[in-house]
C-alpha cells in the first residue's frame, strides 16, 4: 500500500516571548535582550499514513495535535524533519476561512475554492452543487457581509465538502454546530472513505474518532505516544488523562494541570465477566434475554461517592447505550479492598450483531479514576427477521383502502 502521508521526525519549536515586540522601533530599543522561552510543540514525531486510511489525532489541549495537522497541511513548517504528502491535499481547519465580506457569494465560492486548491474549471463544474448544498440560490449574488451566520457557515461547508482531494485534513472545529450539521459532516467523511481517500481528523474527544477512524495517533506533550487501533489508542489516551487528573465531568479533557495529578490509581478495574442464560451451550445472547455484566475492582483509597459508567457500542462503534450509576442517582461509597459490581439488563432489546462494552469509574467531582475500553464483548442473535440495532417493539395498523370506517387489524412483529 502506498503512503499518503509520511511524517519524518518532525519537530516544531515555538518561541514564546515574554514581551512581544512587533515593530522595528521596539526591536531596536530592546535589541539583544528580548527574553524568550523555547516550547517544543512537537518532538521527533514519526508516522506513516497509508493511502485510503482514516487516521485520527487525539490528545489533550496543547498536546501538539493541531500543530501536527498544520504541519501536514503546510500552514506551519516544521523546525526540523519533514512531511511528504502524496496527492492533492485540502485542509478544512475553519469553515469559510478567507471569505471576503465585500464580495458576492459567487465570487467567494471561486476565491475559496481556489484557495483550497481547485482550478477554475473544477469550480465551474461543482458550482451548482455547491449552491444547492448551501441552499443559497437566491442570495448567491449578494455580498457575503449581508449573510446570516447560518448562511455563512453553510456556504463555507458547501465549498469545503465539494473539494475532492486525495488527502483531506479535518479539524475538530467541524464537529461544532447543530446535530444535522455534524451528521452531514460525518456522512461526507464516510463517502470520502468509500472513495478511497485518505483522511486525517483531529479531535480532543475520542467519541467522534472511534466512529470513523481506522487508526488513531495519540499525542502527549508533543510526543507520539502510540499509533494503533482505535480501542487501544483511546485506552492509552484515557491513561494519559487519568495520570494528568484532568478529566472533567463530561469526559472532556480539561486544560492540562487544572486538577492535581494523581500518582496512583484510587480504583482499579480488574476485569469484567459477561453472564447470560444458556451460556454453557452457546456463545450468543438471544434478543430479549437478560444479560449481566460483572465488574471486579480494587479500591486503594476510599471514595465517598463513586460513579460507574457503562457504554455499549455496536460493531461500527456507535454508542448504543451509555449511562452511569451517578446519573441514575445511585452514588456508591467505596471502602478500600476488593469489590464487584453487576450491571444487569433484564431484557436485552438488541438485534443481530456483536457489541462491546466500555466502562469507567469516576469520583464525585467527575474525575476519571479508571477506564476499561473494550472491557467485554458479546454477540446477539435475533430469531426474528428485523434488521438493525435495536429491537423496537412494533405494532402495525393498516387502514384498508375502500373501508368506510377504519378497521384495525394489528399484529406485533417479533
Amino acid at each position: 500500500m502506498a503512503l499518503a502521508i509520511d511524517i519524518q521526525r518532525v519537530s516544531k519549536r515555538f518561541r514564546l516571548y515574554h514581551e512581544k515586540y512587533t515593530s522595528l522601533k521596539e526591536r531596536v530599543l530592546h535589541a539583544g535582550h528580548i527574553p524568550y522561552e523555547d516550547f517544543w510543540a512537537l518532538r521527533d514525531v514519526e508516522a506513516q499514513i497509508e493511502a485510503g486510511k482514516t487516521v485520527g489525532i487525539l490528545g489533550r489541549n496543547g498536546s501538539g495535535k493541531s500543530t501536527l495537522l498544520k504541519c501536514i497541511a503546510g500552514i506551519l513548517q516544521p523546525t526540523s524533519g519533514q512531511v511528504v504528502v502524496r496527492g492533492q491535499l485540502a485542509a478544512m481547519l475553519e469553515l469559510g476561512a478567507g471569505f471576503q465580506p465585500e464580495l458576492s457569494g459567487r465570487d467567494n465560492i471561486y476565491l475559496n475554492g481556489s484557495l483550497l486548491g481547485l482550478s477554475r474549471r473544477e469550480i465551474d463544474r461543482r458550482f451548482d452543487a455547491i449552491v444547492e448544498f448551501a441552499e443559497l440560490d437566491q442570495f448567491i449574488d449578494n455580498q457575503v457581509k449581508y449573510y446570516s451566520s447560518g448562511m455563512y457557515v453553510r456556504l463555507g461547508f458547501a465549498v469545503a465538502v465539494n473539494v475532492e482531494p486525495d488527502v483531506l485534513l479535518v479539524d475538530e472545529v467541524l464537529a461544532v454546530g447543530d446535530e444535522r450539521f455534524q451528521q452531514k459532516c460525518l456522512e461526507r467523511v464516510r463517502a470520502f472513505q468509500r472513495e478511497g481517500r485518505t483522511i486525517v481528523v483531529v479531535a480532543h474527544s475520542p467519541d467522534l474518532l472511534r466512529q470513523v477512524c481506522d487508526e488513531i495517533m495519540v499525542l502527549d506533550r508533543g510526543e507520539l505516544v502510540t499509533m494503533s487501533s482505535p480501542g487501544e489508542a483511546i485506552q492509552a489516551f484515557r491513561g494519559i488523562l487519568i495520570d494528568a487528573g484532568a478529566v472533567g465531568p463530561e469526559g472532556e479533557p480539561g486544560v492540562a494541570g487544572s486538577a492535581p495529578g494523581l500518582g496512583h490509581r484510587q480504583v482499579r478495574i480488574l476485569g469484567t465477566r459477561v453472564e447470560h442464560p444458556g451460556q454453557a451451550e452457546r456463545s450468543y445472547v438471544v434478543s430479549g434475554e437478560p444479560l449481566a455484566l460483572h465488574v471486579d475492582f480494587e479500591v486503594a483509597e476510599a471514595v465517598a461517592a463513586a460513579s460507574f459508567s457503562i457504554t455499549v457500542l455496536s460493531a461500527r462503534n456507535e454508542v448504543v447505550y451509555s449511562s452511569a450509576t451517578g446519573a441514575l442517582g445511585q452514588p456508591i461509597a467505596l471502602a478500600p479492598g476488593a469489590g464487584s459490581l453487576s450491571f444487569v439488563f433484564d431484557s436485552l432489546p438488541l438485534l443481530d450483531g456483536s457489541f462491546t462494552v466500555s466502562l469507567d469509574v469516576r469520583d464525585e467531582r467527575g474525575a476519571v479514576l479508571d477506564v476499561a475500553e473494550n472491557a467485554a464483548k458479546f454477540e446477539v442473535m435475533n430469531p426474528g427477521r428485523a434488521t438493525g440495532i435495536v429491537a423496537l417493539p412494533l405494532r402495525v395498523e393498516l387502514v384498508a383502502p375502500g373501508d368506510a370506517r377504519p378497521s384495525l387489524a394489528s399484529r406485533t412483529l417479533p
Binding site: I75, V83, A91, A97, L103, G117, A191
Partner: protein
Amino acid sequence: MGTVSEAGVPPAHELLDEVAPLELAPAPARELPARVVAARVSLPVRLKDLWRSRELFLFLVRKELKVKYKGSILGFLWSMLNPAVVLVVYYVVFTYFLKANVPDYALFLFSGLLVWNLFNNALMGSSTSIVAAAGIVKKVAFPREILAMSQVGAAVVFFGFQLVVMAVFLAGFQVAPAWSWLPLVPFALVDLVVLTAAIAIFLSAVNVYLRDIEHLIAVLLQAWFWGVPIIYSFNKVYTPSHRWLGYLYLADPITPIVLAFQRAFYGKVSYVTYADPVHHLGRVVSYQLANYPYHFYLVMLAWVLGIGVVLLLGALVVFGRIEGNFAEEL
C-alpha cells in the same frame, strides 16, 4: 380484512439500499504528485508551487479590484481621482508658480507618474497584504507570496486604466507619441513589474515581524519619489559639471524605466519655441530629454531587468526562510 403479513413489509436492508446506494468511486490510479513540507524548500520547488497557484493569483487580483472599486464605474472613477489630483496640482504649481518652462508639462509629468503610481500602489498595498490576510494565512495552505503578488497585479491593472487615460490625453493634446520608441514601453513595464514584485514580496514578509515597516515605507517612498526625474527632467540633474549625480540617478533602477516611458510617450528631445509668450525671450531652444541613442535605453533596461530578477529570487529566498512562522506570528 387487511391483515398485514410480515412479508408485506419490505426488509429493512432493502429500504436502506434504496436510500443510500453504496458508491464505489474508482481509486485514483494516476501518479500522485508529492509535496514536501519542511523548514527549507528549494527555490525551484517554490517557483513550481507559485506557478501552480496562478489561478488563485488571478482570483485574488479580481478580488482586490472588486473590493477597491466596489464593482462599479463610479468606484472606478473615484479611484482615478487621486492620481488626477496629483497631476493637476503638480501641473499648476510647476507651470504657473515655479515656471518649469517645460512644453506640454502635463504630458511629461503623466509619463513618469504612470511608472511611479504602479510602483507606489503595489508597495503600499503589498506591505500590509499578509498581515491583512491573517485569517487565511493561519487556516489555509497556499504560497503566501501570492498575496503580495496579487497587489502588484492589481496595480498593473490600474496602470492599464491609466494608460488608456494617457491615450485620451495624447489625442486631446493632439500630440503623437514617439512611435519608434514605443517598443521600449513593454520592456520597461516588464522591468518595473519584476522589480516591484521583488520589493513587494520582501516587504510583505518583513512587515509580519516589524509592523511599523508600512509607515516607514510611506515616508521612504515619498523621499524616493523626489529622487526620480518625474517632476523635473533628467537633463536638470545630468549636467557636464555634475556627471556623477547623473550616474547616481541611473543607479536607481526606477530611473531608466521612467526615462524610457518619457522617451516613448513624451518624446520631445528638443523643443524650439520661436516666440516665448511668457518671458518674451524670442527664440528659445529647450532640451527636455537627453538625446540618447536607442541602445542606451536597451542596455539600461536590460541591466535593470538583471537586477530585478536577482532581487526577485533573493526576495523569494528570504520569504521562504521566514514564512514558516507566519501562522504563529499573526
